[in-house]
Amino acid sequence: MVAPRVKGLNCPRCGAAIELRSGELAQTVACPSCAAILDAKDPNLRVLQEFTGKMRYQPRIPLGTRGTLKGDQYEVIGFQVRGIRVDDVDYHWSEYLLWNPYKGFRYLTEYDGHWNDVVVVKNTPEEKEGGRQPTVGYLGETFKHFQTATAKTQFVLGEFPWEIRLGDTAETRDFVSPPHMLSEERTADERTWSLGTYVTPQYIWQAFKLPGTPPAPRGVYADQPDANAAGAGSLGKIFRLFAAIIVALFVVRQITARRDLVLRQVYSVASHNPDSTAFVTPVFTLAGRTSNVRLTLETDLENNWAYFSLALINEQTGTAYDMGREVSYYHGYDDGAWSEGSRTDRATIPTVPSGHYYLRVQPELGSDAERPMNFLLTVQRDMPGVAFFVLALGVLAVPPLFATFRHHAFEQMRWRESDYAPLSSDDE
């Protein structure tokens, strides 16, 4: 950048040196020493307003600092602090006026460590009708209304191309479409729109070569983009792909499972003494690869229970798979028909190698009814399951659900500061 012509003057109130960098464009200048607002058009810098405020602010980017934004060099020539009051709470932010003799003016705003690079837009955004939350369109982008407030100027340093005063107010309306924010400022005389783009503090620090590290942003700013938003969406796409594969696997498994029926026998038990009821089934062959075995017990129990000690025993190796199963079924009529339990039970023995097996069965019949029990014992090989498919889908859904939850929480934090704050338990 060609060095701008700097006009050196002195503050008529405190005598401090004042530099005018924007030349003829400067309308007012605030003394960097006493913060009095002076008439930049007046050769003697007539005092327009003395600073009587209680709070003085120090700009994070000193006046006169030059930096490169979007490939162009700008110089910080003005600084102001403005504030709004919402629900009896004061919020303040800083605005830096930047100047390039060829590119014109540009602004930086900072609130709680969040920075925006702001330019005044030439075309008026298109206001859209309808809905509880108004929107505006600009360059094909739709912005949602965020907040309407009255902004008040509270502190000024440096020069400005308009007649600035402490206590100046403007009606502001902010519309957001992260990382952008459209802001309308309306005074009695004019109405201007500006477009802000959220930038990281590190970007500002590098652009102006500021020493140290920038203050960390606090909370979520109105137009702050959620770095994880795209992640949640693409994790969801990957999940849908995996879910489709799992469903396809489930269908293939249902079709290709052998479901070999290796034993189907009806037995009867009348004794209630389990010591006398043990028996073994004929030997059957479990063929093929190592797979599961499903035992199904179908009884004719009536208001009684039965307990089955079952052992699937490999005739050759002597390895047994032991389990106990209880079947009970009760029913009756008590202010309407009722029933509980089931006459049928089934159990799956996993990873059973092929070989010759028999079942040792020891039924114990409950004494709630005297009637003997008949039961059908079925043994099947290589039965498809559902549990692992459901479990896999559930486990796979965790990361995208977590990302979606995190994005939702981010948006909640964003809108909590707006005119459309979600109701909290405190509000209800």
Binding site: G231, I238, F279, M323, P350, Y358, E364, G385, F388, P399
Partner: protein, 65 residues
Amino acid sequence: MMRHHLLYSLFGVLLIATLAMAEWRGWSLTRPTEVKNVPRSVRDNPGSYRPAYLYTGSGRYLRGK
């Protein structure tokens, strides 16, 4: 973010491979007690076998000797 996607994709592939293996080998979420070296005499004398679980009649399952 790309790293997260890569990790998630890898996790998904491994999970589906495990699922396929589980179905192929007939895994289950529960497993009965495995007993080794059951004597051949059980076949002729089923009452001599001591099952791993006995029912006491009170709803409690006791491990057999």
